[in-house]
């Protein structure tokens, strides 16, 4: 297990190192000039030169890369070119919202998908099964931003149950939660459609195995067999997909936060790329990469928990 963890940590570090080179190179070869973006089209040459000097854009690329990595290793991600405040402060302000959104999104995804997927499998070939399959097909086909707009029209503009967007801050917890309902639903519906289908086929496969028939034959109720004997053994593919979906949910917040104008990391990365705010984009991409790699790592650990046979292999 220690060897396994060490190997995982090494691969974690190597992945982030590779990401750091890619994001740094990409942001620096991407056409665009941070100074011109900030000062606009009427800026004079000497004002642009003064700003480039201020932002440290005149040093050679390799020097800038190592300066950036060196500082990042000590936790210093530099100062945002466009905001003029430390990147860590920008991220700190916005992280809680995006994390809340991604977590509530994954919880709703899993709850919906397990209920629908197991329900469909239990009613295999009947109307309920077809209904779930049909709805999930639609769910997969709908783009999240379009679904968001429909939700806003119905629940914010017409019924006025929830605000159409914005976030009042955690200082007002009830309003804050209300404002996260529609974004969470928009994020989770599409993902749960995918997961429900996976759950259904995985449960169906396990239901065909001999021990299930044996369990049923010993007189356990249908429901008990389904949730206590079938589901735990069907979990491995489900957890794999959940891990991948968590990554999709975190990146999906970019679209959702823009549609619901929420002040989270997704909106920050969008704004920073348009502004060619190199330090902020670099730090955010590193953060997103770290979240995805960590999610995969957690999935691996969960495998061991749900399937003890994997422990010896690890």
């Amino acid at each position: 297990m220690t060897y396994y963890l060490a190997r995982r940590m090494l691969s974690f570090a190597l992945t982030l190192f590779a990401v750091s080179i890619v994001v740094f190179a990409a942001m620096n070869v991407l056409p665009g000039d941070p100074a011109l973006t900030i000062l606009g089209l009427d800026a004079t040459e000497d004002a642009l030169a003064a700003l480039r000097e201020q932002l440290g854009l005149n040093a050679p690329l390799v020097t800038r890369y190592f300066l950036w990595v060196g500082h990042a290793l000590t936790g210093d991600f530099g100062v945002s070119h466009s905001f003029g405040v430390p990147v860590s402060e920008l991220i700190g302000e916005r992280l809680p919202l995006t994390v809340s959104l991604a977590l509530s999104g994954i919880v709703l995804t899993v709850v919906l998908a397990l209920a629908l997927g197991v329900g469909a499998a239990a009613n295999h070939g009947k109307a309920g099964d077809w209904g779930v399959m049909f709805l999930s097909q639609i769910g997969i086909a709908i783009p999240a931003f379009w679904l968001s707009m429909l939700l806003v029209i119905l629940f914010a503009v017409k019924l006025r149950w929830f605000p159409p967007g914005g976030f009042p801050g955690w200082g007002e917890p009830l309003d804050a939660m209300r404002s996260l309902v529609l974004p969470t639903v928009a994020l989770a519906l599409v993902q749960s459609a995918v997961l429900a289908r996976v759950t259904r086929s995985s449960v169906l496969e396990v239901m065909r195995q001999d021990y299930v028939r044996t369990a049923r034959a010993t007189g356990f109720s249908h429901r008990r067999v389904l949730w206590l004997h079938v589901l735990p053994n069907a979990l491995v593919p489900i957890v794999t997909i959940v891990g991948m979906q968590f990554a999709a949910l975190v990146t999906g917040t970019i679209v959702i936060e823009n549609v619901f104008y929420l002040p989270g990391l997704g909106r920050l990365i969008f704004q920073s790329i348009s502004n060619r705010d190199l330090p902020t984009v670099q730090a955010l991409v590193m953060l997103f990469a770290a979240i995805v790699v960590t999610a995969n790592f957690v999935v691996d650990l969960v495998y061991v928990l749900i399937d003890p046979r994997l422990k010896s292999r690890a």
Binding site: A47, Q54, L150, I153, V259
Partner: protein, 497 residues
């Protein structure tokens, strides 16, 4: 982009069908919530060109020596009066007395000297540093007088001094203005939740505070047009003064809870051509393109009819405007013959378009119109950062579509071959020098007319339309400018009933 646009239309249709009910939410009479498309990343208008900094803060939190009215007239602000010497080179400003910055420090002539020295310094990052170029010296003979001496006459000097770039910032607070703006204006900065909102509160110490109706102003940053529509419809917002989507206006016009105002801006939308690159260095080719384009069709298709056509580079609401839209009446056959004569018929031109709806929609129509005249146009949609670098900086383009939003910007055509127009014309440069230094308004207007006629004759670009200002306001919100002669919107005169 096309997909997003399609979804807006679906959204609009759904709204038009489904709505109209919804009771009006009550609102404290002294506060207002205003929607803005663009969030700035910096709150200092003397260090960042983002238009929404001026839209929120210039002449509200910050003040300048002068202020421009809705009709474009220059009025007193921190300078309560001024005199200009006979030769037009020495401006003596008498400053208001007793004004204070929001942090409690006093305003006097030393602040003016500081603000100008900072903007003109060698390491200045002022986005409009060029407006300070004619200034020779700035001195303060006493605490309430400032004397500015110019090296040459500048007809736009008082107008330029009314801009956010010329805000009078204080030495004590200037460095912190990027995040916590401090000025002398009618509203104090209250807070900024980045990515969400910015709030101002009334400054009761301001010299005209008695006439200011609003106690609190909240700006919300909503860039997506459909989201902005939903926010207005659900009455989260009281006003959206520069609404980005003309196609979504009819549902507001049909709803008694709202009013729509259509005004003008200083933004000329042009089909810019790279005059330094063949075949666009040939005036006949540029004229042929002018014949090929049909402004009415472009305005209907790209702006849903909500814009005025222009035949040169000057706004239709300006005092010196001449209507030159009839100079090259739309005639595809004539354009075709001219293209054949110039040897460009059947060739392919590239049109690189920035990611703004007015530009992407105009591009598709222009592409079809030039195809009718026998020229293939390849449309490339590019991202804004790419546009700035490849087109603006490196002049790596044939044609592009862009709105020039600055006032008095005909001087762009005198910026020489280095500017992205690639246009270098001694005749126009001499004319612009005359315009800039002509202090008499009537004579200056005559020269500006000449300038418009010359640029239209040379068909330097395809001149398309004047960008409209479309405002959606809740009924009872008064005092917003319908037209925008400058980038700011003074809120001292706005009220909510």
């Amino acid at each position: 982009m096309t997909r997003l646009h399609g979804s807006f239309l679906t959204f609009a249709a759904t709204l038009a069908l489904g709505l109209g009910a919804g009771a009006g939410g009550a609102l404290a009479a002294s506060s207002i919530v205003i929607g803005l498309q663009q969030e700035p990343t910096n709150l200092d208008p003397t260090a960042d060109a983002t238009a929404s900094i001026d839209g929120m803060l210039t002449q509200n939190v910050y003040e300048s020596l002068t202020i421009v009215s809705e009709s474009g007239e220059v009025l007193p602000a921190l300078a309560e009066s001024w005199t200009v010497s006979e030769d037009g080179l020495v401006y003596t400003f008498n400053l208001v007395q007793g004004a204070k910055y929001h942090d409690g420090t006093d305003f006097d002539s030393a602040d003016v000297v500081f603000a100008f020295s900072r903007a003109m310094a060698e390491d200045s990052v002022n986005p409009s540093k060029s407006i300070f170029k004619p200034i020779d010296t700035v001195t303060a003979p006493d605490a309430h007088t400032v004397v500015i001496t110019l090296t040459r006459k500048d007809a736009f000097f008082l107008f330029n001094m009314a801009q956010g770039d010329a805000s009078i910032v204080a030495e004590e607070s200037a460095d912190g203005n990027n995040a916590t703006p401090v000025g002398t204006g009618p509203f104090k900065f209250d807070g900024w939740t980045r990515g969400d909102r910015l709030t101002l509160v009334k400054n009761s110490d301001w010299r005209g505070a008695g006439d200011v109706a609003l106690d609190k102003v909240e700006f919300r940053f909503i860039s997506d047009a459909a989201a902005a529509t939903a926010a207005m419809m659900s009455e989260e917002l009281d006003a959206y003064p520069a609404f980005p989507a003309p196609e979504l206006l009819p549902q507001f016009e049909a709803d008694p809870r709202f009013k729509v105002e259509v005004g003008s801006t200083e933004g000329e939308v042009i089909l810019a051509m790279n005059n330094s690159k063949p075949p666009f260095d040939n005036v006949e080719v540029r004229r042929a393109i002018s014949y090929a384009i049909n402004r009415d069709e472009i305005i209907d298709g790209a702006m849903y009819g909500q814009a005025l056509p222009i035949g040169s580079f000057y706004p239709p609401h300006g005092p010196a405007y001449v209507d030159l839209t009839g100079l090259y009446p739309h005639d595809a056959e004539k354009a075709k013959a001219m293209f054949e004569e110039a040897g460009v018929a059947g060739t392919t031109m590239t049109l690189r378009v920035p990611p703004f709806p007015y530009a992407t929609r105009s591009a598709e129509i222009i592409q079809a119109e030039l195809a009718d005249a026998g020229v293939d146009v390849k449309v490339e949609n590019v991202e804004w950062g790419f546009w700035i670098d490849e087109i603006y900086k490196k002049k790596n383009y044939d044609m592009t579509i862009i709105a020039h939003t600055a006032p008095n910007d005909m001087g762009n055509f005198a910026r020489g071959p280095g500017y992205f127009y690639g246009y270098d014309d001694a005749t126009f440069t001499a004319l612009w020098d005359e315009i800039q230094t002509e202090a008499d308004p009537d004579k200056r207007n005559d020269l500006l007319k000449k300038g418009q006629e010359y640029l239209a004759d040379q068909a330097v670009h395809g001149f398309l339309f004047q960008m409209p200002r479309l405002s959606v306001l809740k009924t009872g919100v008064d005092g917003f400018w319908a037209s925008a002669p400058v980038l700011y919107q003074p809120l001292a005169g706005v009220s909510v009933n």
